[in-house]
Symmetry: C2
Subunit: 366 residues, 2 copies
């Protein structure tokens, strides 16, 4: 158990934004939401997953929709209480902890804001260890946990409670309502007991986000032995995929997703080479000179070549210089069950999944 | 209080199909649903609205979606119980009566089937006195009754409970889910106490449907004093708008609606004239030789020129000979509040509402 105050927020948002792999929302918006809640209502108590009782009700809370919409259509603050009431009434018991469904600039922050405003502990766990675009894409689905009952509310006060026969149906129905509500809503789903959360959750993800954020902010402090880039890669455990200047961005907001791709013209040691990164909220594939170098579920992150600050898919702009970095995904995503749910073929990319490390070492040709 | 058995169903379905004004679903499907339920579970007790206690919970139950879809994607029978459980759990009390939300071939029948299967009384009342395409278009909305909590289920077992800030939001969110569920679902909404139902409902609509059905079936029995057509018009209180052969049907299933128009080439005394009827599930306007002769909220019904059986918008076919008949709508729809909700302008028809009787008498030019 430890306390999260204003000072911790900046680093958590920054690190979570890297783990968002292009999605998970704008960390600036997320940061403001969490800071405002903490300023108004006080610090948040963050529990280690092991500190939660096996029978305690815990539930992830998140925003659903296109990050592009989220940037303009915020929340009004009453959503947390509404979701709490819907969930606790449904289960007939109080909620003992909120946690993020995914890591991302907004979705790591929203549970912190909710915890601050309602005085409920935050749990240091999530269901992805990164961000994914669809609701069923959580470790909990692999563990047989139902996404429903799911509570949804928009900022106007409309609400829905879903119960569905599969977690993919939860995604489909909630997505339709999200679109109708204007493209972005607040949700609580995958309510579960502490034992299940401990068994299937990606643990200590908020702490990991904070450490990554602290590291990124510290890169600029001179390290005689390493370049800033080498320092960034070492401290994040990242693999360099490409460095380039953005020459084209195609981005559509369709079905409450940001869909598109970004084209990069190589710089530095990549001069004369081309790369493409495709995305559905999150980055899906990275291709260099026509060869795939990384795919989901591994994390493909674009970061500013000078500041190493992650660039989300809704902030991609012509002319920006970015480094494409790969981070290995959570182990469970590399199992056959995990790859069936979030592997490249699910997203329409006709290639087998090969771990990032192998693709980059050239071993996949062996 | 009286009992509805197999014998009553045929006439109720036929008459309700006329009041459906082109919508409300295929009476053949509706009839089979109700008959099957009565055969399996026994007759239904139908209560007069006045027999319901002021504090008793009563609720309409209906199908939502495009009639074209409904014809192929039926219900599996478990929906009634699921809706009952959702509603009674939400209100914390038992449901004392089901009733139709609208008059129509399917939507007058579904509550009969539900009443039979669950052994709950049916109430002889509805919320439109005809069929309308959108959920908020009920007398209860004019009475300030909330459509929510609304329960929705599809035949697969997915469910939602909506609570919305306006009844139009109920329509919008439920429509999105209906589309995602394949275009047709079962719903229960506008739960209310008996007092409210008695104050705002369109009373004795099932009895009226039955009488209309009996009359239509009896037209063929020779009446020396009248032609069958005159007999039909007298007994239904209808106004003849046009008679013609269908020369064109444009029908799209969009947004879980049947949208389109039908073109008629005049026959008999209308030879050489042309008419057009537009529809959104239900018929919206009837225009003869370029002049509007009837609009919503008055009922525009197309009936077979020989059998006088109503033709729903999903059954319109090239070459069919039909009579366009107008029936005056329920009084409440002719008030400014009623016309704002269901008048021609709401449906994009740029004309003031003028009662059917005036338009046909030519008085609207006076």
């Amino acid at each position: 158990m430890r306390t999260l105050g204003i000072n911790e927020i900046e680093d958590i948002a920054l690190g979570a934004s890297l783990l968002g792999a292009g999605g998970g929302g704008d960390p600036y918006i997320g940061k403001l939401m969490a800071m405002d809640a903490i300023k108004t209502c006080g610090d948040v108590t963050m529990m280690d997953p092991e500190e939660i009782g096996d029978d305690d009700l815990v539930i992830p809370i998140a925003m659903m929709g296109a990050p592009t919409v989220l940037a303009e259509k915020g929340i009004n603050g009453s959503e947390y209480k509404r979701l709490y009431d819907m969930v606790s009434q449904f289960y007939g018991k109080e909620i003992k902890g909120f946690f993020p469904i995914e890591a991302g600039g907004v979705n790591s922050m929203l549970p912190i804001a909710a915890s601050a405003r309602l005085g409920i502990p935050l749990v240091d766990v999530d269901g992805m260890g990164r961000a994914f675009p669809e609701l069923q894409m959580v470790t909990f689905t692999l563990g047989g946990v139902s996404a429903t009952p799911m509570a949804l509310t928009d900022e106007k006060g409309n609400t829905c409670i879903f119960e569905t026969i599969t977690n993919k149906w939860t995604e489909d129905l909630a997505r339709a309502v999200t679109l109708t509500c204007g493209g972005s809503v607040c949700i609580a789903l995958y309510g579960m007991d502490g034992a299940t959360m401990k068994k299937w959750g990606v643990k200590n993800i908020i702490t990991r986000s904070q450490k990554l954020g602290t590291a990124i902010r510290g890169i600029k402090q001179l390290d005689k032995n390493r370049t800033p880039e080498a320092s960034f890669l070492t401290q994040t455990g990242g693999y360099k995929i490409f460095k380039g200047k953005i020459t084209d961005v195609l981005r559509e907001t369709t079905g409450a997703f940001n869909l598109g791709h970004v084209m990069l013209d190589g710089i530095s040691e990549y001069r004369g080479q081309q790369a493409e990164v495709t995305f559905q909220n999150e980055n899906l594939t990275a291709t260099v000179n026509g060869r795939i170098k990384a795919t989901v579920p591994d994390l493909i992150c674009l970061v500013d070549t000078e500041t190493f600050i992650p660039v989300t898919t809704d902030a991609l702009k012509y002319g920006k210089r970015v480094m494409a970095v790969g981070l290995p995904c959570y182990d469970l995503w590399r199992t056959p069950q995990g790859l069936e749910m979030v592997g490249p073929r699910y997203f329409g990319c006709d290639t087998d999944y090969i771990p990032l490390e192998e693709r980059l070492s050239g071993k996949e040709n062996a």
